[in-house]
Amino acid sequence: MAEEVKTQEFWRWPETHWVNPDIDWEKGELITAGVDVGSVSTQAVIMVDGEFFAYGNTRTGSDSPNSARKGMGFALEKTDMKIEHMDYCIGTGYGRVNVPMAQQSITEISCHARGANFMYGPEVRTVMDMGGQDCKAIQVDDRGKVLNFMMNDKCAAGTGRGMEVFADLIRVPVWEIGTRSFKIQKEPPMISSTCVVFAKSEVVGLLESGMPENDIMAAYCSAMAHRIMELLNRLGVKEKFVITGGIAKNEGVVKRLEKELGIKTGERVWNKKEYMDRGYPFDTQLAGAMGAALFGNALLKMGKAKSARKA
């Protein structure tokens, strides 16, 4: 009998969840939730009267309804809140029409704009969302309203999934790539192919030629930054410029993009001072779900939606 060897999955990023200890949800009037079912990750955010209450960030499975249930269950795990207690739930992302607990679905473009406005503050003018399999550049006004958007969801080059494939190929955990890509002597020329599949074969070639691993990571990060630049060049960048989504956590890409653009990205911190003081976790992947939950709150307050609370 052949022996089975467990190997590490280098692409697997940690799934996280959190509950706000400062809020007693039972006293809250409006409980809204946003579920962002993306192509790679699923986030659920729960808000009590427009304040950040809980979130869950998981990997998307093979079907959207189950991924949404998993994400929501993960967010509610440490609370005694149930889905029946929620006033309104909004689905967003690729699988938005297949979120079973959602009363409505809103496109991810609106939700990311709204979420970035809440997380980074009303000074945000350009939002670059770098998701699992697409990237979108959005220009917003001070209320989080979309002014101009451009989306590239036809091709997964320069996205989170590409980074995962790359991590698995060079056998370095995906969250280490950013820091390790700076431990180099000299900035190497970037990977010339933007396509994930072509880039993969180019990397295999570089590995065989004996190029140091860190240099290859640097080359891949700058190729990714360059690819995102193309989308931003078409749309135009205005400050304050922020990046949301999983790739925002990779400083190797972010710093190289800043260098190429000549513009600093807004710091990855909460806009709200009390959130900062109490050390609330800041996860760039949450922007979409956060926006959806905020839209739920706004729609209920304006009387455009009816509460679906059962308990």
Binding site: I106, T107, I109, S110, K145, V146, L147, N148, F149, M150, M151, N152, D153, K154, C155, T194, E230, L231, R234, L235, F295, L299
Partner: protein
């Protein structure tokens, strides 16, 4: 809002741009579009807009390069049917078609 529907790939930019501030939702462009990629309905991006707006159908957004090819700028009739019929001049096409195929 300026809505860019379409994509950019190695061969150029393939976008149909609709300026929703100019669009009055008259519904003429879906009728003249030979490929039937346009639609008029509620604004899915700006939830608080009351008037209907023109947009490119969800399932057509990744095929614009091919479905719009017969009327592409520099090849088909000038201006393209959707651009010509639009009174507030809300619709524009990107230059991708011209760059790749040149002018006729």
């Amino acid at each position: 809002m300026i809505a860019n529907y379409g994509f950019g790939d190695g061969s150029g930019d393939w976008y149909v741009t609709i300026d929703t501030d100019k669009c009055n939702g008259c519904g003429k462009c879906p009728e003249v579009c030979p490929a039937r990629i346009l639609e008029v309905g509620p604004d899915e991006i700006d939830l608080f807009r009351k008037e209907p707006v023109a947009f490119v159908k969800q399932e057509e957004r990744k095929k614009i390069k091919y479905s719009c090819a017969p009327c592409r700028p520099g090849y088909g009739a000038e201006p393209a049917p959707c651009v010509g019929i639009c009174e507030p001049k809300a619709i524009t096409h990107s230059e991708g078609w011209k760059l790749q195929f040149g002018s006729r």
